[in-house]
């Protein structure tokens, strides 16, 4: 047990962390906390002394808007993240590693297809689907199935189906959103059948938290032998650890999205692209930058529907839930870097092709 711990600490003091960039990265959260406290103090003082200086008012207003958007995203996403990590904790204590793999159909294509519609039974949005997908894969679900789940679950779930229907009704966009998402998720998932070595796809079960925890329970054998009370406890601790691990990326993503929304005018982004091809590119990038939850993005798309083509709206609705700032950061935690590049670019290209094709041939 101790030797394992040593290995862990050794693993952590890798040379990257000793470089300047590594040090900068490590002090980043502390810097943000300090800047935040200074700005917060300033807004308080502005309120107390009622300064009316133009610059001070502009800054405090900016800080106010920034914090409103940041807290909005965080408060909205935190319950979903919590749901995902609790589900992951539940999977951890209920199934032994081999069991879950055996529940899948033998046929690999069928299994990937099943993975893409699994979201119907686990209604989580992108913040929740990533920890859950990782847990499922570590419990013996093949990687292609896990990836299909990961990409499709934020859209193929009851909540999002309902909200898209509210926004678009029984229209072309409604049906195409789900068809395209399934197509891309299954396609990308099947691609991973060609790489049977999962260690080249997944990062080694990530450092620190899990090991610290697993060490403690390892000697008690597989989860089946734990008492009920122990199981609940284990589920809670696994969920909490994962909440911290993924919550970090939620915080970073929300900070970036809030900064973006406070500084860059939306009109400016939208005026960049018109025409059948450019509009698709621009709106898919807007989806990444806005980082709104998949449960509401259809309402936002509705706001764009006056100015943008159908293909562009679909790109927004299909690509946004698969890849956005916070999801990409979480991917980096789970997958190797080259795989993340693939997971970001491949769906994007497929979305572009589909969006442009719809613009040119359908309407």
């Amino acid at each position: 047990m101790w030797s394992k711990t040593k290995e862990l600490t050794h693993h952590q003091t890798n040379p990257v962390n000793q470089t300047g960039a590594g040090r900068l990265l490590r002090s980043l959260p502390i810097m943000i906390v300090v800047i935040g406290v200074v700005l917060a103090g300033m807004t308080r003082l502005q309120q107390v002394f009622n300064w009316q200086n133009g610059i001070v008012v502009a800054i405090t207003e900016g800080v106010g808007n920034f914090s409103a958007v940041f807290l909005g995203i965080f408060i909205e996403a935190a319950p979903f993240l919590l749901m995902g990590t609790l589900a992951s904790g539940l999977v951890e204590v209920i199934f032994t590693s081999a069991e879950l793999g055996r529940l899948l159909p033998r046929n690999r294509f069928l299994a990937v297809g099943l993975g893409s519609v699994l979201g119907l039974f686990f209604p989580v949005c992108e913040c929740g689907s990533i920890p859950l997908a990782r847990r499922l894969m570590s419990k013996g679900i093949p990687v292609p199935v896990g990836i299909a789940f990961l990409l499709a679950a934020p859209v193929i779930n009851p909540i999002v189906i309902a909200s898209t229907f509210t926004a678009f009704g029984n229209s072309l966009i409604f049906w195409l959103r789900f068809a395209l998402t399934l197509f891309i998720a299954i396609g990308v998932g099947l691609l991973f059948l060609f790489e049977p070595d999962r260690s080249r796809i997944l990062r080694p079960a990530s450092a620190g938290t899990f090991h610290a925890f697993h060490l403690h329970y390892d000697h008690e054998g597989d989860p089946q032998s734990l008492y009920f009370k122990e199981k609940i406890k284990k589920m809670m601790v696994v969920a909490a650890d994962e909440f911290f691990e993924m919550g970090r990326f939620l915080v970073i993503g929300a900070l970036l999205a809030a900064l973006m929304q406070t500084i860059v005018p939306q009109q400016w982004l939208l005026s960049l692209g018109q025409g059948p091809v450019l509009s698709v590119i621009v709106l898919s990038l807007v989806a990444v930058l806005l980082s709104v939850c998949s449960t509401v993005d259809s309402f936002i798309a509705l706001a764009f529907s006056g100015t943008f083509s159908t293909g562009a709206l679909l790109a927004f609705l299909v690509y946004g839930p698969m890849v956005d700032i916070k999801a990409t950061l979480m991917y980096l935690r789970v997958f190797r870097r080259s795989i993340v590049v693939l997971l970001v670019l491949l769906p994007w290209l497929l979305t572009l092709i589909a969006g442009v094709a719809i613009n040119l041939w359908v309407r």
Partner: protein, 242 residues
């Protein structure tokens, strides 16, 4: 840091986060951040975080926890997760200010979050009780919009000017929030008011007058012929929830 200390910190952060969410619900400020239909979900999440904190706090006493931990990333996570708590508690809770409209743009018509084509419940409201959102909905989904011409209007919103309008016109707007502030969209109605020049951009006003129609690009939009425009303080609840 030992694992024991780490667990205590985790418990502290989770408890503070849970209490933050619950306290915002208690004092009503939660509605400055999210749509009301998500409040129950946030409430459950707040409770859940407090319970999790309790489990972690108990967990710190488990054997093995005197070990020196832990990966840098593990400790960093603690710092990152304090950021929402600090921002939440330290920066005074304020709604999105009307000046944000510059970055977000305005919509005057149909692109509405909740597509309620059934306008019966809106029609049953007395005209002066309708909000900016109600009016725009009515105009988007009613078959006969001529019926509204001449009806009295009494709406509150913030002032903003738009280059496309004439000198005597401005827009009165409200942010609508479907999910959280990140998706806030401004909805606006055009107001015809000769005294517009004295109004301060982005200040809150109450507009009273009658409905008229304005044709623009071959479409009809509602326009308020204002009889009076008075400055008012920002409403308790500055957003409208579709």
């Amino acid at each position: 840091m030992t694992l024991r200390a780490g667990r205590s910190f985790q418990a502290l952060i989770l408890a503070l986060m849970g209490l933050y969410l619950l306290s915002r619900i208690w004092n009503g400020n939660i509605l400055l951040y999210i749509n009301q239909r998500f409040v129950v979900l946030v409430f459950l999440a707040g409770l859940c975080l407090v319970v999790l904190a309790q489990f972690l706090y108990a967990e710190r006493l488990e054997e093995n926890n005197n070990r020196e931990v832990l990966a840098d990333s593990w400790k960093l996570n603690l710092w990152w997760l304090t950021i929402p708590i600090l921002i939440g508690f330290l920066i005074p809770a304020r709604p999105l200010s009307p000046s944000a409209v510059v970055n977000r743009g305005v919509s005057m018509d149909a692109p509405l979050s909740a597509r309620i084509e059934d306008t019966a419940s809106l029609l049953s409201l007395s005209p002066t009780e309708r909000t900016v959102l109600d009016w725009i909905r009515l105009f988007s989904y009613s078959e006969d919009i001529q019926q509204f011409v001449g009806q009295p209007v009494d709406v509150t919103g913030f002032v903003f000017s738009d280059g496309r309008l004439s000198d005597s016109q401005f827009m009165v707007g409200r942010f609508t929030i479907t999910c959280c502030v990140a998706d806030a969209t401004a909805l606006g109605m055009i107001v015809e008011y000769p005294g517009f020049a004295v109004l301060k951009e982005h200040s809150w006003v109450r507009v009273q007058g009658t409905i008229d129609l304005l044709e623009r690009d071959g479409r009809l939009f509602p326009m308020i012929l204002a009889k009076s425009v008075e400055a008012v303080p920002q409403p308790e609840q500055p957003y409208l929830f579709p």
